[in-house]
Amino acid sequence: MKSKIAAMSKTSRDNFKTYAMVLIVYVVVMIFQAAGLVSSQMSGLLVPLCVYATMAVSLNLVVGILGELSLGHAGFMCVGAFAGAFFSKITENSMGTFPRFFLAIVIGGLVAGIFGFLIGIPVLRLNGDYLAIVTLAFGEIIKNIMNVLYVGQDASGLHFSMTSATDLNMDGATGNLIINGPQGITGTPFDSTFTAGIIILMISLIVVLNLMNSRDGRAIMSIRDNHIAAESVGINITKYKMTAFTISAVIAGCAGSLYAHNLASLIATPARFGYNMSIMFLVFVVLGGIGSMRGSIIAATILTLLPEILRFMAGYRMLIYSIVLIVIMIVNWNPKSRAWLAEHNLSRFLFKKHHEKKEVK
């Protein structure tokens, strides 16, 4: 086993470490949970943690690998959440838990992917920060639409309305309100587990890391580094921007569907799917190191658990949270601290290999 690891390329070894990190954390948490050492508040955070880490990986694909900015990633999560929950609601009595949940995740991803694709078609043809502006608007619009959308099901099929539940004109006897405007979706089956979350996070990681280290991934990163040069060697810029952005949206949609199956009531509130949430994902990406998937996951984990760990400090909680944010920022990006970490052989724990500067002669 050891010699096998040594024979791998530097990149594969680095990816392997990232997978190992996620799996070790999973095993440790499961052991602690079995031993009754995890508080119920902590337990409640495990699924959201996987959701946020997956969102960070998804956004890092856009920001770190493609080099574009998305300020509405919570919007894709929102679309995926509602699509997945909706599917689970209408099939609740006709399908077994596992196939239903599996399909709900896939559908969440597909629907978000379609939105990503449709947004990408006009916007990704342009060079400039247009994607940031359009995704920002998308996130806000989706959230508002979900607050006025009513969908019901009765014997004659599905009914839609943008005004009120009574406008659905459903058959009173068989009518079943599924999406209830500002009250959203209630009673989605609680299918999400920590294990399911880790599986989705792992699959997202494998997809993104394998993509990065491939023909398509190199094309995507060449666009990020120099789009004029990329075009000069025949790289189809729009095609590869679309590929990266659509895959990112699919992953965000899967994360959203996972999230929805962990909520008693799914409501498109600003706290869950608004601009602040999109910015929080961006904070994970920036703090963890742009382009570093492992860093994104670590940052998402620390920043999700921190408020809970600091709960006993009551009023000072957010103060400490901000200080930790600033400290991570300084440690991660300050050239001097990076040099210090490199000198003490610590940088490999924090940064991916590409960031290490190597002198040639």
Partner: protein, 252 residues
């Protein structure tokens, strides 16, 4: 039939005629020089040939095929590759990955193949690696294959740009000031490498250069550009003796 046929090429920026009535024929296998003072319009000619700019007038034919006004990607696929006066490497990619981006259109496997790591992925990647290493070897860059391209010294960055352009398997290679910023030893080495490209790779090369030693040493024919217009063209010795050229360009 010449490999590259340019007739009456013209472009203006605002009121400025950056390139005017530009004509040039380059034969297959030729090493051709484009010279002229700064701002003469040399890089603009390259940008017109590669589709970066669309000409106001004129026709460009490669191997008899009209490529005027085509997109940069189509032109690269048709067989023109270039380097840039201001180095444009993929800075955060390794040296070998820069070349592998150049190989992109000659090797195929799907996105799903890469994500699922199907056998085809490993087979094609191995072929790409071998091909890229062979190219790096020509430029004496094989030792630095895994380095971050941004960390290469200047002279090697210029060479890597040529290797990347060559990776697209072009018929015509355009080099924009390949020796700029190189010391005399590096320039000497570059001259040898360019000769190798011409002899062993049967490459046709059009190059812009200020280093007169390089130009007179390797170019067979020259075109001199001044204020967007052709001052003179012909075989290197004759052109460099032309009093007008000496006055406009060499004599300061």
């Amino acid at each position: 039939m010449a490999l590259l046929e340019i007739s009456n090429l013209q472009i203006s920026f605002g009121g400025l005629r950056a390139v005017d009535d530009f004509n040039l024929n380059i034969e297959k296998g030729e090493l051709y020089g484009l010279i002229g003072p700064n701002g003469a319009g040399k890089t603009t000619v390259f940008n017109l040939l590669t589709g970066e700019y669309k000409p106001d007038e004129g026709i460009v034919k490669l191997d008899g095929r009209d490529i005027t006004g085509k997109s940069t990607i189509e032109i690269n696929k048709a067989g023109i590759a270039r380097t840039f006066q201001n180095i444009r490497l993929f800075k955060q990619l390794s040296v070998i990955d820069n070349v592998k981006v150049g190989l992109h259109n000659q090797y195929q496997y799907s996105t799903a193949t890469s994500i699922l790591r199907l056998p085809k992925y490993f087979a094609v990647e191995k072929e790409m690696n071998d091909k890229a290493m062979a190219l790096l070897k020509v430029f004496d860059l094989d030792q630095e294959a895994e380095y971050l391209s941004a960390n290469l010294p200047y002279g090697k960055q210029r060479k890597l740009e040529i290797a990347r352009a060559l990776a697209t398997n072009p018929k015509l290679l355009l080099l924009d000031e390949p020796a700029a910023g190189m010391n005399p030893n590096e320039t000497e080495e570059l001259m040898k490498t360019i000769k190798v490209l011409q002899k062993d790779f049967q490459m046709t090369i059009l190059l812009i250069e200020h280093d007169m030693k390089l130009v007179s040493g390797i170019c067979e024919r020259l075109t001199v550009l001044n204020f967007g217009r052709i001052l003179t063209q012909g075989d290197t010795k004759t052109v460099l003796k032309n009093p007008e050229v000496i006055k406009a360009y060499l004599g300061e």
